[in-house]
Structure formats: C-alpha cells, structure tokens
C-alpha cells in the first residue's frame, strides 16, 4: 500500500475532523439541524443574524462544546502518546498505558470514589496515581541495570499494572454495591459525560504541556526506534531522550485518563492506521496520529451518547470500534507495504 502525499492526508484528515465536529454538534438528545447549527455558529463567532433560541445555545455551547473539546484533545494526545511509545519501544503493539499509567490512575480514582471525595479531588488522585505508577516502573527499571532497559521497563510495567489492578479489584469488592461500585465501574470504563468547561481549563494545559516535547523532538523519536546501540552509535544521547519522552507521554496519558477514565485502544489503533497512511517517519506520523485520534474519539463519543437511550461507556465503544479496525489493519498489512 502506497502512503499518501502530504497534501492528500492533510486535506483528508482535516476534512474528516471538520465533518466529525459538525456531526457531533448536531446530533444528540436535542438535535440541531445543520442550518440551525451554522446559524448558531455564525451568531456566536461573528454576530451574524438573530440570536438563536436559548435551548439551542445551551445544548451547543454548555453541553456539547466541553465534551467535543475533551474528545478532540484526549483522542489526539492518547494517539500521540501511543505513537511515541510504539516508536520508543520498537514495537507497534504497544499502547500508551504500557508503563502502568491507566492502572495507577484507575486505582487512584477508585480510591477517591471509595472515600466519597469530590470529583475534582478524584481526578487529582487519579492523575497522581498515573504518574506514581509510571514513576515506580521507571525506578525499578533504573535500579535493574543488568538487562536490556526497554525490556525491563515493559516487564516492570506489566507487573506494576497487575499489582495495581489487584488493588482496584479489592476496592471494588469493598465498595458499597449500590452507590460506590457503579461509579467506580463507570469511571473505569471511561466516558466524557461528566466533563465541564472548568475541567478542561485544568487538563488542557497539562495535555498540551505533555505534547510539546513530542512535537519538538519528533525527528529524534525515530532514532530510538533503531535500538539503543545503533542510536548511540549515530550520536544520540539515548537515556535522557527516552526519559524525556516517557515523562511527556505519561503526562499526556495521565491527564487524559484522570479526566475521562480508561479509554483503551485509541492509542494503539490510531497510530497503526496513521502509519499505513503516511509512513513510519515520526515527523509525519505524529501530526497524522493527532488528527486521526481526534476524529476517532469524537466519533466514538458521538456514538456513545446517541446509539442507545442511555449513555454508553466510551471505553466499551472504543474497543468495539478499535478492535475490528485493528484486526483489519493487521490483515491488510500482512503483505508488508
């Protein structure tokens, strides 16, 4: 399969995102017809026409806008973090929670919900838990110097995730089955239904801060994919570069997970599809992953709130959409491009 020329994937990626944005704003419990949507946008941004009905404004700007923004941001950074981890660990099957960030955030959030803390505090503990889990994994990797550092990182990540997962299970067992357990379960499955604009004011800067090093170092990320010895022989200071990228990708993922819960598959599937479209060079893979990830999660979230009379957990939908996509990509890429 040939990769797309630059203009083609840019045009395609941005058109897809724009289409998803229009769709996300128009559908839902309070449908807004395309004409009314354009009118409302025109009035809001440029003051064109009459003031739209208050119900339309409330639905669009107070209910849908924070959710749409959150979906775009989180989908984009989870995909970027996934692409970075895949390049770093020289393995296209790695997802952004390989180092235990989801398990750590999950345990933090479960603990917060178990203790009945306010939502903002729950998010804070989840964020700290995610960073703490990865910190622990990196500490183990730094202490164990006898083996290949990448292998130790991945194995320590698996082990720490399993340990924290057991902690989550314990909390679920101890939680009140009528009040606390559903909220813990729902959080662990991920969702954007509770996102308000104030959450974004806290989370968005963290997401962008984590994204910045990935953008700045986008070419060097390729070199880590060659393996440590080769990268060093080419003049790369591998260890500081890897720690920087891990810190950045972890910040992104922890911030995303603390806001939206555990949303699987995005960070694994989207970089795969992006790689098929634009090739493996991280300079193109990163923007393509950002664009596709935003569209993917926006589409999944739009489905989550429209598919059934009740809100579906986002993590379930990303798995339902992501896994078939992943298998399709796997089947298609069997003959290496």
């Amino acid at each position: 399969m040939r990769t797309l020329p630059r203009w083609a994937w840019h045009a395609g990626g941005w058109s897809l995102l724009l289409a998803m944005l229009l769709l996300a704003f128009s559908v839902g419990q309070f449908p807004v017809r395309p004409a009314a949507l354009l009118h409302a946008i025109g009035w809001q941004l440029f003051g064109i026409g009459d003031s739209p009905a208050p119900a339309v404004q409330a639905a669009l700007w107070h209910i849908r806008l924070p959710r749409v923004l959150a979906a775009v941001l989180i989908g984009a950074v989870l995909s970027a973090a996934g692409a970075a981890y895949q390049a770093m660990f020289r393995n296209p099957l790695v997802s952004p929670d390989i180092l235990g960030v989801s398990a750590g955030a999950g345990l933090g959030a479960s603990l917060g919900l178990f203790l009945g803390l306010p939502m903002l505090l729950v998010q804070g503990i989840a964020f700290a838990g995610g960073l703490g889990a990865v910190g622990l994994v990196c500490l183990v990797a730094a202490l164990v110097r006898r083996h290949d550092p990448v292998l130790v990182l991945v194995l320590a990540g698996v082990a720490v995730s399993a340990l924290l997962g057991a902690g989550i299970s314990l909390l679920k067992l101890l939680a009140d089955p009528y009040t606390q357990l559903p909220s813990i379960t729902f959080w662990l499955l991920g969702g954007l239904n509770a996102v308000v604009i104030d959450d974004l004011k806290v989370t968005a800067p963290l997401l962008l801060l984590g994204l910045l090093p990935l953008l700045l170092l986008r070419w060097r990320v390729n070199l880590l994919g060659l393996g440590d010895e080769e990268a060093r022989a080419l003049g790369v200071a591998v260890t500081p570069l890897r720690w920087t990228l891990i810190a950045a990708a972890t910040l992104c993922t922890a911030a995303a997970v603390s806001l939206a819960g555990i949303i699987g598959w995005v960070g694994l599937v989207v970089p795969h599809i992006a790689r098929l479209l634009v090739g493996a060079d991280f300079r193109r893979l990163l923007p393509a992953s950002l664009l596709l990830g935003a569209s993917f999660l926006l589409a999944a979230d739009t489905l989550a709130r429209t598919l059934a009379p009740i809100e579906l957990p986002l993590g379930i939908l990303t798995a339902f959409v992501g896994v078939p996509c992943f298998l399709l990509v796997l089947a298609r890429s069997e003959r290496r491009p």
Binding site: L217, W219, R220, N222, A233, L234, G235, A280, D281, P337
Partner: protein
C-alpha cells in the same frame, strides 16, 4: 594518505565487561585509506572491541584516541562525527523509507530539536548515489533484501561524514553476489581516503579487501600486519583450531586472488 595522524589509535587496550578483562593488552590503529580486517573465532571479543572503540563500552584499561584526541573527552555526537558505524543488518521494526533511514545518519550533525534540512537531505542523497541506491530512495526498508539493507546501512554511516567506518561483519548472511558487492564498496570507499575497520568470518574476504589483517583470540589481538603475512594457513589454523592443510585447501592459492 597514510602516515599522518591515525584515525583511530588504541594503546595498551584491555577490553572487557564491567571492569573484568577479557584478555591481554594490545595496540591497534587505523589510518586513512586503509582497510583493516579483524578475523577471529566466535566469542573472541570482536563485538566487545568494536563497542569499546565506539565508546559504547568503557575500556578496562588503556587509551583510545580518535584523530589524536582521547575518546573519553568526546560526547556521543562528537564520536559519531568521527566514526561511522555499520551494524549487522537486522530487520527494522518500522517501514521507514530508505532516504529517511539514511538521513538518520545526520543526527550527530544536528541540534537536539533540529530536523534534517535541505542540506542534510542532499548529503543523504549523495550517499545513496555513492552506493548505487538512488533508485531505492522511496522504497520502504522492510521491502529490501538483506544485501540492499546492508548497503543502506553503509549509506547511513557515510551520511555521518566520518573519516572512519567500523563495520560489524558486513558480509554475514549475504549471498555470493552481495558479498562481492559489499567488498568492492569497502575497497572503493577506502580508495577515497576513508579508513575502514571491519570484522569477518571469511579469511578469503579479508585477503581480497584488506591492507592489514588483525587476528583476534581470547579478547586480545594475537597478530597484526600486512594481509598476506598474517592470513597464512598456519596462523589461521591455530586461530580457528583446525588442521593447516585443511585451511590451505580452503583458501585461494597465494597471490592469485584479486
């Protein structure tokens, strides 16, 4: 070209892991325009020696100089500007394009946040042309054969614009035609003034391409000198622990190889 400051000079060098010596001290130097070939049985320390010379592994004792300055004063990028490294061609995990892989050789010349610019792309293109790979520039590396991949790695090392190339068994697992192609490339590069240090398991390859040959055993150099004086059946027989008559039968008659 030779006779000037050596590109690489090791004195009283003891190689090993974690401070544990692998063998006795030895000396080694590579001069501009020469091919120095390293022969030795499996596990004799060829890769450990290369890693030490590249600064990837600390020497147990002794000194390594690059163009007259000690290796240890250089950071990674400075070493990479002085030694181009050609690893054994292992499959790559991602389907990069050939020109992208060759441009990675420019890392040591670029700032931390920089990406290869027009000049770097031009150098990468030049290196591809040098090796007759210009038609491959847009191919993905995962579609290349072993020989093509090895040539791409040599092109990447050339893009480092170092005067010394270190090649780890560049002819291993290649077919006969590709082996000859690689050896001719090595000779041609040396004739442009580049110094080449390479390891091989094939004495006949060493005789074909090398100016000097070093015999390595038990973590140290046993002999180092002009190719034909060193790679004699008797010495090779001792080195590899086989019968001298058997070695003589396997090698081309002295002086007849090109």
């Amino acid at each position: 070209m030779s006779g000037n400051t050596p590109l690489l000079e090791a004195r009283e060098l003891v190689i090993g892991h974690a401070g544990v010596a692998l063998g006795a001290p030895f000396a080694l130097s590579v001069h501009p325009g020469e091919v120095l070939c390293l022969l030795g049985p499996n596990g004799c320390g060829k890769t450990t020696l290369f890693r030490t010379l590249l600064g990837l592994l600390p020497a147990v004792r002794g000194e390594v100089d690059l163009q007259g300055t000690p290796l240890r004063v250089h950071d990674r990028a400075a070493i990479a500007r002085r030694i181009g490294y050609v690893p054994q061609a292992s499959p790559m995990p991602f389907a990069w394009r050939v020109r992208e892989v060759v441009a990675m050789g420019r890392a040591a010349h670029l700032g931390l946040l920089a990406t290869p610019g027009r000049a770097d792309e031009a150098i990468a293109g030049e290196c591809l042309r040098e090796l007759g790979l210009h038609a491959f520039a847009e191919r993905t590396v995962t579609t290349l054969s072993g020989g093509e991949r090895q040539l791409v790695l040599i092109a990447r090392a050339l893009a480092q614009q170092a005067h010394l190339l270190v090649m780890d068994e560049p002819t291993a697992s290649l077919d006969f035609g590709n082996q000859l192609r690689i050896l001719d490339t090595v000779r041609r590069l040396a004739d442009t003034g580049i110094g080449v240090l390479l390891s091989t398991h094939q004495p006949q390859h060493a005789l074909q391409v090398a100016d000097r040959i070093a015999l390595m055993a038990a973590g140290s150099l046993q002999a180092l000198g002009p190719a034909r004086e060193i790679a004699t059946p008797e010495r090779l027989a001792t080195l590899y622990g086989v019968d001298a008559a058997r070695v003589a039968a396997a090698l081309p008659a002295s002086g007849s190889s090109t």
